[in-house]
Symmetry: C2
Subunit: 212 residues, 2 copies
């Protein structure tokens, strides 16, 4: 069993997947489950996950994503789609679910609901969408580690036309907006120019400040 | 050794830390290192990490963060601070570092640099900040898992006044903006109302859509 940092050292943004290799269903499920378990602001889970294996749909997505071959060569394409707004209905849905799961409806929690409804109302649609999009990135970070522990390669991708992708997946009718992609699969034996490159990160001194 | 999903099930947003317990330096270092290794858009790492142990500074931060006790009771407070803009200088700094680490300066990479400089110039300060803030959340997601593997408790927190916090840490002069906090430490033996509550997440059916 590896450590988190060993798995982070192993992973890289795969440039060429082996299109003949598929991720086992049980591995895929564990990665999906990790994303579902990701913590989010006020427990809202303000995003959804799309798992695209359909070849025709993936070809369409590739066409609006700089023709990046990972989208069609990977085993499964994850699409993280954030709520386009944090509406009262959505807040209430999650608070009601919490009451159901935890079997309570206490005063403190109801006061928190009211306060949160006030905050999201005041923040407005775009601000709420930005908050939701950030939460999707918590899920992305967790998916990256979960995939690495399964020895599944993954490539975080922001290089696509989100409006066109929303059209392809009919996200607008679901009040969602695509924010980031994560192809999952297995690196090709040959042809990936990035596989042997040294990882580039700023050193600890220029990345971390300790205030003691 | 546990699995990622076992560690995700173990963790929760700790409400009360044991102020007498400190996270060992080696554990803290591994968590910091995981954040440093987090992948980010175009490899820019457009955020920095502040590790605050100073008691007086933490008291000041608590005062602008709804008086949440985790900020002063935790062992170390992580502050994720995003670049306030993705400037040409910052893009060039990371591309130059890449060339240095990888020992190359190839034409494709230089074309990519030019393209990226065009994109960030067009997107403008606020859009660039939002992109940077999202990347900080990849680091947050990874920090949460890294902490859980160290059996260190952690509480992601957005409930604070970012402008006031930027003042306290003098982030403006560094062209940074605080986006999210992560107190690290150990849950108190008593007094945490959240420790035994069932985790609330939407079921797979309402969170995941498969397109096959």
């Amino acid at each position: 069993m590896y450590t988190v940092n060993e798995r982070l050292a192993w992973r890289y943004a795969t440039k060429k997947f082996d299109a003949t290799k598929s991720v086992l269903a049980e591995k895929l499920e564990r990665i999906i489950e990790a994303v579902r378990l990701a913590p989010t602001t006020s427990g809202l889970q303000p995003f959804e996950l799309f798992v695209v294996s359909n070849a025709a749909i993936r070809a369409k997505i590739r066409a609006v994503a700089w023709n990046q071959t990972q989208i069609t060569d990977c085993s499964h394409l994850l699409v993280f789609a954030a709520w386009d707004d944090i509406t009262s209905d959505r807040v209430n849905m999650m608070f009601d679910l919490t009451n159901e799961v935890r079997g309570f409806k206490n005063e403190g929690w109801e006061n928190y609901r009211e306060m949160l409804l006030g905050i999201v109302g005041e923040r407005g649609t775009h601000g709420n969408y930005e908050v939701a999009a950030r939460q999707a990135y918590i899920g992305l970070g967790i998916a990256l580690i979960a995939a690495a522990f399964e020895e599944v390669d993954a490539t975080p991708m922001e290089g696509f036309d989100p409006v066109a992708l929303d059209d392809i997946l009919d996200l607008k009718s679901k009040n969602l907006r695509s924010v980031v992609l994560l192809p999952l699969g297995y690196r090709a034996d040959e042809g990936d120019w990035a596989v042997n490159l040294k990882k580039v990160r700023r050193d600890r001194e220029s990345f971390v400040t300790e205030i003691m």
